[in-house]
């Protein structure tokens, strides 16, 4: 498979502490990759290395199949980024800020108005940025990242400081990018709910280690509701379900049915009754994605 971003054994140490440890990130073309992790997990440090702002202690970064070490300029021509807090020149207006980058990127002047329109800053384009609100600065940062229509857009916590309608606008904008321009997007966040609705792929990082990396569907499967049945003899019930070819897990105080639909649940319960088990309780337990994410990162922290 062709990966737009691929890191191998990527590691960054600050003193003894490993901020990023053996990270293997893989992002296929056209995906919106949600890079998730709690505070201090190493997301920003990873992104800094992806952009060549910081040298890895060991391991390598490849973007578009080229090694960052030897092809930095060529690679960065096709990458737009927003790292951590928005960066800007306070003494310049939004337009002038973009103009300063445009001179280096060598793109037509009309792109400035286009991106300002896209992030809805065109009304305040001639105001000095130091007077902007945090959300407006964030939008300017996103505009700057898109100025040269990059093939890869790297956004570090872009919804930081945006109001709810701003978040929705941003989500729509980001979702449209792969479809309209074939862009690949890497977007980091510490909230799963924020990127849940737009990401097609997720990487979860905790303490510098990648602990999950797959499609969002795979992650959602973890989130499906499970049915727990409390029976007089849980272990015997579990065995008899398995013997009958029905999937189940044995918990400490109950049997969990891995049923995919209501009919299967009904069939399992009916079978247990027929076998003469006394059923005390049948309850549904829903796990939200956020819970799964929390559990994932918690386990890692405990271990």
């Amino acid at each position: 498979m062709e990966y737009i971003v691929e890191t191998k054994h990527l590691t960054k140490s600050f003193g003894k502490e490993k901020a990023v440890s053996n990270l293997e990130m893989k992002i296929p073309k056209g995906e919106i990759y949600g890079f998730l992790g709690p505070n201090g997990a190493g997301k920003t440090t990873t992104i800094r290395m992806l952009l060549g702002l910081m040298r890895p202690t060991s391991g390598s970064v490849q973007l578009f199949g080229k090694d960052m070490k030897n092809n930095r300029i060529e690679i960065l021509k096709n990458v737009g980024s927003l790292v951590e807090n928005p960066s800007y020149y306070p003494h310049l207006t939004a337009k002038e800020n973009l103009e300063a980058s445009r001179k280096i990127l060598n793109v037509p002047k009309k792109r400035i108005d286009e991106v300002l329109q896209q992030v809805r800053l065109h009304g305040v384009a001639n105001k000095k940025v130091k007077g902007y609100s945090l959300g407006m600065k964030q939008r300017l940062g996103i505009a700057a990242a898109m100025l040269h229509q990059p093939e890869l857009l790297i956004l570090d916590e872009p919804t930081n400081g945006l109001d709810p309608s701003g978040i929705i606008e941003m989500r729509q904008l980001i979702q449209s990018l792969p479809k309209e321009y074939g862009m690949t997007v890497l977007i980091s966040s510490h909230l799963l709910s924020e990127i849940d609705q737009m990401a097609t792929r997720v990487g979860v990082v905790s303490k510098g280690k990648m602990i999950f990396q797959d499609s969002i569907e795979t992650m959602r499967k973890f989130a499906q509701a499970s049915i727990q049945v409390k029976v007089n003899d849980n272990e015997a019930a579990w065995r008899s379900l398995l013997a009958n070819g029905q999937k189940a897990d044995l918990g400490e105080e109950s049997v969990t049915l891995q049923a995919e639909d209501d009919e299967q649940v009904a069939a399992s319960i009916r079978y247990l009754v027929q076998q003469g088990f006394s059923i005390y309780r049948v309850q549904e337990e829903k796990r939200s994605l956020e819970n799964i994410f929390l559990e994932m990162t918690k386990e890692e922290q405990a271990g």
Binding site: G52, V83, L92, K103, I104, L105
Partner: protein
């Protein structure tokens, strides 16, 4: 390369600090007018003026203004994450460093030329009738500029390293103030980089050479400190984690 300089110039131009370039030539002008020079028979009247004007200008203002400009050209990158935005663009760090340096030395050349205008104005106002000593003045103007090149390299280095505006300024002042004492020393004067602008601009030196200072001193002190400061700053910037 040109596009990077162009972008740097754009950011600097909009920061409205270019009036700083006027300060030193204006002060030179006032000093020139305020002090009437003693006229000595047989010596070009311009010389007296030059000696007087050059003293404050070359010892104090030339290195101080260049230091402030170096800080300004880095300040807006330090302020709100400008470095990471700039360096995530397709430019090499080397080009960024070189662009900032070139822009600084160009601005200082402009300041030297404005100072030249000041000198001329003083003469006009005072009604000096002696012929304008063009060759001597050029030596002084151009020599002073060459002597500032290493200082600017160091000032750029320090300005990149420190986020605060005050630290590079303090360092600059610490090295600039002793100049007045050091240049009077036969032994140390010729080797002190901050003293070179004055020595190069001082018209008392030998007139046979291209500059007022012997070549070996220019090469060794100005050239040597330039290489040291420029390469040091350049390598520091290449390695700096952003």
């Amino acid at each position: 390369m040109f596009s990077v300089i162009n972008s740097e110039w754009y950011k600097l131009r909009k920061s409205k600090v270019l009036f700083l370039l006027l300060i030193a030539p204006l002060i030179g002008l006032f000093i020139g007018i305020a002090n009437s020079s003693i006229e000595i028979e047989g010596i070009n009247a311009w010389h007296g003026k030059l000696v007087m004007m050059n003293f404050t200008y070359a010892i104090l203002f030339l290195p101080l203004i260049s230091g402030v400009l170096a800080s300004v050209i880095c300040r807006y990158e330090h302020q709100e994450g400008g470095w990471k935005q700039l360096l995530a663009l397709p430019v090499t760090r080397g080009k960024v460093f070189l662009s900032k340096y070139l822009l600084l030395i160009l601005l200082m050349l402009v300041m030297q030329l404005m100072y030249l205008v000041s000198i001329y104005l003083v003469g006009m106002i005072e009604g000096i009738t002696d012929p304008f000593p063009m060759d001597i003045v050029w030596k002084s103007i151009f020599g002073g500029w060459v002597a500032t090149l290493p200082l600017i390299a160091l000032q750029l280095w320090v300005s990149i390293a420190f986020k605060s505006f005050a630290a590079p300024f303090a360092i600059n002042v610490i090295f600039t103030l002793p100049t007045i004492l050091v240049i009077n020393s036969e032994r140390f004067g010729p080797y002190y980089p901050w003293g070179q602008p004055f020595l190069m601009m001082n018209i008392g030196g030998s007139t046979e050479d291209v500059f007022f200072v012997p070549w070996d001193q220019i090469l060794m002190v100005v050239g040597g400190s330039f290489l040291l400061f420029f390469i040091g700053g350049y390598l520091y910037f290449l390695k700096k984690a952003i």
